[in-house]
Symmetry: C2
Subunit: 411 residues, 2 copies
DNA sequence: ATTAATTTTCTCGACAGTCGAAAAAATGTT
DNA sequence: AACATTTTTTCGACTGTCGAGAAAATTAAT
């Protein structure tokens, strides 16, 4: 049902407006806040003093004197008002980061993953211990860490932090809520990594060019597996994102065997293991090893660039699956720019023609113009950034609801 | 940018709440409004008297005396406050309806389309004249008709009422704004018909079972061409919908020629002309006639049910294209129930197995359960209904913004 | 017929929020 | 030290919602 509007959520919404302006603009003066939010100066005053009293904002007294007149007082987030733990799981390592409410990185370490680890219990126990270590090193109380946000490849449940299917552990599920609840009371989030890559790229664009409004952006991650994230800027300016299991979208029902058990998924052709299988003419029903060194694929690429037909074909076939898949995506969700990340960008030259052909072969694309395709090599950084931004804006949303400052007493 | 909240939009939102309650509940008393909207009785009073003064609401003085106490006064929309013209274009005819602000049908007539009409100018001129006739018969002033909302098959531009591609006129575009602006000042809307079928079914469901919230529903229309609409219930309870050109999503790059010029679109295999082509073993590069009598397809179905292999294959092939296409849809947009409409439902028995197989072959479906599949034979009615509901709630949205009642003076 | 009971609707004062304008504050300039 | 300039806060007006009690309109009881 529609929600009724009261003066109370009026204030909530405007508090949120102030916090989001602060997120986007960094350190901001009273006047700038008023201009950006188009709230009156009077309202900005009451809200900022309120937030300051609650320990969420700090005033920066220093004034770098730019001309005559009363110097501006800048506001910024109180960094110690909350902390978040960011965990990024890749196939090679797990990265643990501690970030404060202002978004600055306070601590970070990485742990390599053993090359052929398939036992989920040892993995999750190590993860738990490492998070414990992150907390202890920080010398914070566990309650001060309000969110633990984990990114991973694979299929994630919606509504609860549970991994349903992953390239490494396959059908063995893993509930991070159950795992971490004993050691800290924080909210636990689990998200597909490419979703945050998309979120991060979309936020960069939105910050740069105005009028990205209500538009979408797709991010494709090429690697051992195939990831896809879609970010949408909504009418209110917020960017939302989701990550469908694009790698396991059916490409060809008679195609090769996929790690998920089906036949002809995009990943089974365009994932590194699919490319390797085609290049070495391994039978389509054989699933190669889980861990393929990047070097292997690079060697195939070298052969392809030297004119080896089968190697060329392996990449061309991968490009076809990706291109037609992207075409189907654009057919269903409308035209949108496409950003490509992951190690697979190294081989884009070998797939370009077939990828673009697939995209081109779409009613809307033929009728209008080719969507923009861009490349982003800093995938890890994008994922981390998107995760942090998403966590912090979530925290902001919680804060605006809790007008009694009991929960935000750390300072 | 996020919108600031003022006391003004506070009132707007609550006015909208009252109007939407009235839409959903029909004739409603003060107390019921207060309960449904959870607004206080005082607020309901001020808003209803305001809307009454503006001529948007009427009080129903009659009181059917249920027990002692002051009888309830019921409110309802002022039917004469606004009118909308609904135009439904099908391949056989065009249906013109006049509906008042309360949603009651005031007038309706249908005009058959000549069987092989390909000249877009004669078609649009006839359409214009028929709308003119609808206005004249109503004896209303043209300004009293606030919206003309047209539904059609084919690809519709977003943001302007322009037909970009249609089964009959193909690439000849048609701008209804330009066509109708000379004869009336109303807002002109053009929408894909299956989108409104989806909207209508979703609204039925939302009214019946609570907790449909934030869920999606896909509606597939099987006929000469293939239509798809997707409706989503948003967090605020409103149902939004869109219609991707699913019929022209690539099924098989090596497939038969489609009317759109590409090869292997779903429609080229599963549209009636695709089924006919397969059944008669016509070459894949030949596009059959535009107008195929339903009888023809029924004959093929009879032969298929009698065990004719090629006829069976024609339907099975169609089902495969549809099923795998739906599977791809579910992969990208998540699991959702599927409603099927259109004449093609008559032949569902011949396609069922292959359709369900295709849907089944999806990571999420295999992991959870098969989505519900339902059938709706009253496609025309659904489209009309969805269109009316959508128009009226649009009108409501406009009304809540215009507090100076200048525009709503008809009563 | 009159009074009491009951239910619904309206009205009034209190409270919360935003806004514009004017006052206050803090600095540079003369 | 007085003035100019810019930023921030304060104050009164206005709009909106709410709770409680008053008013209205009817049935039931006396």
């Amino acid at each position: 049902m529609l929600m009724k509007a009261s003066t109370e959520n009026l204030r909530k919404q405007n508090r949120g407006l102030i916090l989001s302006a602060l997120r986007r603009l960094g350190s901001v003066s009273h006047t700038e806040l008023s201009q950006w939010t188009s709230l009156s100066s009077a309202t900005v005053s009451t809200i900022t003093t309120e937030l300051e009293k609650e320990g969420i904002l700090l005033r920066e007294e220093q004034a770098p004197s730019a001309g005559r007149g009363r110097p501006r007082v800048k506001f910024r987030q109180n960094p110690n008002c909350a902390f978040i733990a960011i965990v990024r799981i890749t196939s090679e390592m797990v990265q643990y980061s501690l970030v404060d409410y202002a978004g600055t990185l306070k601590d970070r370490f990485e742990e390599k993953r053993p090359p052929a680890e398939t036992d989920i219990d040892t993995f999750s126990n190590r993860l738990k211990n490492d998070i414990q270590r992150l907390i202890e090193r920080s010398e914070l109380q566990p309650e001060q860490i309000l969110t633990v946000s984990i990114t991973t490849k694979g299929l994630v449940a919606s509504g609860k932090p549970e991994l349903l299917w992953s390239p490494v552990f396959e059908d063995k599920t893993m509930n991070f809520e159950d795992l971490l609840r004993p050691i800290l009371p924080a909210q636990i989030r689990l998200t597909n990594d490419t979703q945050f890559a998309a979120q991060s790229i979309a936020e960069q664009r939105a910050a740069k060019l105005r009028g990205f409004s209500n538009r979408k952006l797709a991010t494709l991650s090429l690697s051992h597996s195939i990831g896809l994230g879609i970010a949408t800027e909504e009418a209110n300016g917020k960017i939302s994102s989701f990550a469908p299991p694009f790698g396991h979208m059916m490409h060809d029902p008679n195609g090769p065997l996929c790690r998920c058990g089906a036949h002809g998924c995009i990943e089974s052709i365009a994932g590194f293991y699919g490319i390797l299988r085609t290049a070495f003419e391994v039978d389509d029903d054989v699933v190669p090893a889980k861990f393929i060194p990047l070097k292997e694929i690079e060697n195939i690429a070298v052969r392809a660039r030297n004119g080896d037909h089968q190697s060329e074909y392996a990449f061309r076939r991968a490009g076809e699956a990706l291109g037609i898949g992207l075409g189907r995506l654009l057919t269903l969700l409308g035209p949108m720019p496409i950003a490509i990340t992951g190690h697979g960008t190294l081989f884009y030259d070998l797939m370009q023609t077939s990828i673009l052909d697939g995209i081109q072969n779409t009613l809307q694309v033929r009728r209008n113009k080719m969507p923009e395709v861009s490349f982003h090599t800093d995938e890890g950084h994008l994922i981390f950034n998107g995760n942090v931004q998403s966590c912090l804006s979530d925290l902001d949303s919680n804060i605006i609801s809790e007008q009694n400052g009991t929960k935000w007493k750390f300072n």
